[in-house]
Symmetry: C2
Subunit: 371 residues, 2 copies
């Protein structure tokens, strides 16, 4: 693979003689070059032009060479790569974005109400971890409760603000999923939907968690189980409910889902429901809790009712934070690794952006007992 036209240096020499047919545009550009050369010596931000001038190749060639385009001679690519590195060239994101339409940004829709403790931190850390080194950056867009969930998505689509989207708290027929599929913007949801067309998702096997929790409580001789469930509109709640109810039914134990409570956030309501249920003569002796706050509320309600967790009733809880190592009495917990979830979602999104089909792209994390 010998360069036919001669090396960059030769080409440069030739160019310096200035070809006869100097077109207007070219002239003006050359004029400007001289102007640029006049400026102070050191700190100009290196651009493609800088590298082009240093190597003697044209801007176009340099651009292609840096993209490892096979149409550029291997030797040229090497020379350009070396020069770019030496000069500290870094492609300008704005220019590239303007030209290509790709933003090099992925956006996370962040619920701004109460979180499952530690969720946001771990999740975001996982995402940034995976994105490190790729040119992508994460932007966070609020998914405010009470606001239409589609508005941020619409804004992102209209203004072309991201190459891909991540979001949580997925609903069974999540309108965001529908809109994104129609628009063709890559995305990964935390949680499944019930649309027939497949889309990428990462989920925790909440059904399995609920089943395990029931099994564990039954093992410990508990036979009146209760579960506090967030709003049913989220898919994961339906999985929890299904796992809980069917496992309890199979085990032949009494069970109930505490109704009338919505999300982890409506603390007052949950407290009332808990207190009421603990005062019933046939009160539950086993609780399945979905988040740490719910679990702590259950413990507090028991304590306030003069009962001791582990004696009159057992609790199994899902957790995403480390606090349960320090809660006394100890209760059994299952850890959902949200850092790994964030990593996996970012990974999938990158693949999807790279054009991989949606079909195979999903992960279901199995619960591993801990604590």
């Amino acid at each position: 693979m010998q360069a036919r036209r001669g090396t960059g240096i030769e080409t440069f020499a030739k160019r310096c003689k200035m070809t006869p047919d100097a077109i207007q545009g070219r002239t003006s550009r050359m004029t400007r070059d001289i102007g640029t050369d006049h400026t102070h010596g050191g700190a100009e931000k290196p651009t493609l032009r800088t590298v082009a001038q240093a190597t003697g190749f044209s801007v176009a060639t340099v651009s292609r060479a840096l993209a490892d385009d096979p149409r550029i001679a291997a030797r040229t690519r090497a020379i350009v790569a070396e020069a770019a590195k030496r000069l500290g060239y870094i492609p300008d994101r704005a220019a590239r974005r303007l030209r290509t339409g790709r933003t090099q940004v992925i956006t996370l829709l962040l619920n701004t109400e109460h979180e499952f403790l530690g969720f946001t931190h771990e999740f975001l850390s996982g995402i940034t971890e995976r994105l490190r080194g790729t040119g992508y950056s994460v932007t966070v867009v609020p998914d405010d409760p009470g606001e239409d969930r589609l508005t941020p998505v619409r804004t992102i689509l209209r203004n072309n603000l991201a190459d891909g989207l991540l979001f949580t708290r997925t609903e069974c027929f999540d309108p965001r999923v529908r809109m994104l599929m129609e628009a063709g913007l890559p995305f990964v949801s935390h949680g499944r939907t019930e649309f027939t067309m497949p889309h990428p998702y990462v989920d925790f096997d909440n059904e399995a968690f609920a089943r395990q929790a029931v099994a564990r409580l039954v093992e410990q001789g508990r036979d009146r189980l209760s579960m506090i469930l967030p709003d049913d509109k989220f898919t994961f709640c339906q999985h929890l409910r299904y796992g809980f109810v069917s496992a309890a039914r199979e085990a032949g134990v009494a069970h109930e889902v505490l109704e009338g409570v919505t999300l982890d956030s409506d603390r007052e309501e949950i407290s009332c429901a808990l207190n009421a249920c603990l005062r019933r003569p046939e009160r539950p002796n086993g609780f399945v809790c979905v988040g740490e706050v719910t679990a702590l509320m259950t413990m507090a309600a028991m304590t306030d009712a003069g009962l001791t967790p582990g004696i009159e009733a057992d609790i199994v809880a899902k957790r995403a934070s480390p606090i349960f190592d320090n809660i006394r009495p100890r209760i059994e917990t299952v850890y959902e690794d949200l850092r790994a979830t964030g990593r996996a979602m970012a990974e999938m999104l990158l693949r999807r952006i790279d054009g991989e089909p949606a079909e195979g792209l999903h992960v279901l994390f199995e619960p591993g007992r801990c604590g």
Copy 2:
């Protein structure tokens, strides 16, 4: 203020006749226009050109008009604004960024190790809350423990990735502050420094918190106080230490700072230190805790040693999450409102970006007792 040159419509009519001196560039542009008109009827992204054609003004005028430039006639501005709205024009961020160098992005340096529970969520929610409606978006860049803290800052500066920076866990002579001041990039730190040159910051009055905590414990008759302090390299830890030590000294009670522990994250170490200290004959009877995890660890260590929080020793803790409402026995807590902190930091950063001098820009949140 009458338009001298005639309304947009007249100008448009005139332009359609095509002036004699049609320069090359113009011709080619017109050609392209026709090509564009040929395409399918509806969904072209509206750009300045679209608005210009619709109103009959030039792109330059439209651009100025939308920026409310006083050199553009008031009537023209109104016409253009109306048309832009009607057509759904939204300025292209990439183009604007390329042209102006401003990114419309602010970046949050996010520590990716363990958080004070709920910190990230609340903080980010506050930031996005303030930024809503302004054109700014937030990107999150990891500040990985063990990595050089300057690397992300350097990257942001070199690649011009943001118009401003927010970060936490500020050190007394934080190298990031120095670098950013030198580079002239607006930023707001969560926490103060000891540099002589002023810079914008938002902080919680940790010294006051520590003093209040000591006072509260002394009120309750406690006279051997202990505090677990994260790494001294952070400014806020020094404030905590100073407040704790001087208040205890003034009250004339015994006190110690548990040494040898670094951050909230080194749980094993903290546990050991706690257990050891609780087994001493002259063990502390009052604890000041900075985070919920530390507080819970203290409670757990007491329980494990056969002691009951509130009986043999009291605990006062700072918290950023709602969990302490549900911890039994109840302990006294002081709430640091991180949502408000995020809001305030975003607010200041916006002002700073707008050119406001750094001098007056700081807020110190006073602790309010709660729970």
